[in-house]
Symmetry: C3
Subunit: 155 residues, 3 copies
């Protein structure tokens, strides 16, 4: 699991800088080996937020790219939480994916696959997680996707 | 807790076959005694998905039946995770219920009761869980309800 | 952490009575040091539910007040779960905030801050939590906000 930078690089990706806490909540909490990651927004490598709504002004492919950006930010927070000790990641336990959707859009799983596929590609077997994917009418700042996560970590 | 098949049978129900993993996520993850079940859709005994939206083309009773179908699929995944060793179920800890709803529909609790009641009837005291129930504009494949779950299990 | 009543009093607040279980689900489940609190609605000190939808008939300030009411009810459930032994609270681990929103409303974080700020003010460092905040079309009984929580507790 220490070669996650190599795997990201092969995909043409790099880990973004973990966003700092913005308020009275924090990006992650580690409690007795369970690491809770706050809902991450699809902020791209250029720092721009990916906005949109599926079924309206964004297609599935673009939505999956947004979900992948969320997953990169999740990994950045995991790295920050573990001070870069990636060998401590035991498993990605769960992802919760929220997709900005019109009432007629029902392909949320294909969108959230953008996050699931990245996590599984980077972490291998340890990246296979439980998941829920649902539509929502609106997300913070007009984000297209928000993904939260739970990881199991070793001491 | 080993008589869950008897209790289901008394209710005229049977446990469905646990759906296989569809992608880079999996139907359940067991992490140190906590079993996370992926969001389950209301796929009936005939394999058909129960579609609809509360406040629009589906009433509360039909919504509760959909939630019950989600709960049956949750139990099927629990059974698969524990290789049928139901005595290992310590407790259903939490359900998260997402109900496809128009903006005017506000009886999500009555819908999700379809899942809560089934789990509590089948598992007894061990089936009493914490819960959140919210409306969403759209769910995967047009499903009427999606329910995710957390269980505590014994070694 | 035993002075939470003093801190609430300084804010002009008091802990409401913890709502009793309404059905086959319960307001909280304590599993091996992790306390799961069911989604709490914004029921004010007068017992009235705060209804509304952000982007429609409710502004951010009123939404944040609703989220704060949810957080007060969360604390009431924590107190009930621990029989008032507040020294057993190790940490608020996570909040999940659901904000009734029109498709155009994208300030869910400012609304859910009403809950985060209260928890952090009352619990101090132990109140800093991971969080997800999303919009939803509708909540139970027309509530403006629903917040669920996970706490870590000591024996």
């Amino acid at each position: 699991m220490t070669d996650i930078f190599a795997r990201l690089s092969e995909m043409g990706l790099a880990l973004p800088k973990a966003a700092a806490p913005a308020a009275n909540y924090v990006p992650y909490v580690l409690d007795r080996g369970t690491l809770y990651i706050s809902g991450q927004l699809p902020i791209g490598p250029d720092g721009a937020l990916i906005r949109g709504r599926l079924g309206d002004d964004m297609d599935v492919e673009a939505g999956a790219a947004a979900a992948r950006a969320c997953a990169l930010n999740i990994l950045a927070q995991v790295g920050a939480a573990l001070s870069g000790e990636w060998a401590c990641v035991a498993r990605c336990v769960k992802l919760g994916g929220f997709v900005a959707s019109t009432p007629d859009f029902t392909k949320q799983p294909l969108v959230v696959n953008g996050a699931s596929d990245l996590i599984a590609t980077v972490l291998g077997e340890a990246g296979k997680h439980a998941r829920a994917a649902v539509g929502v009418p609106a997300l913070p700042l007009g984000a297209a996707v928000e993904v939260e996560a739970v990881f199991a970590v070793r001491a």
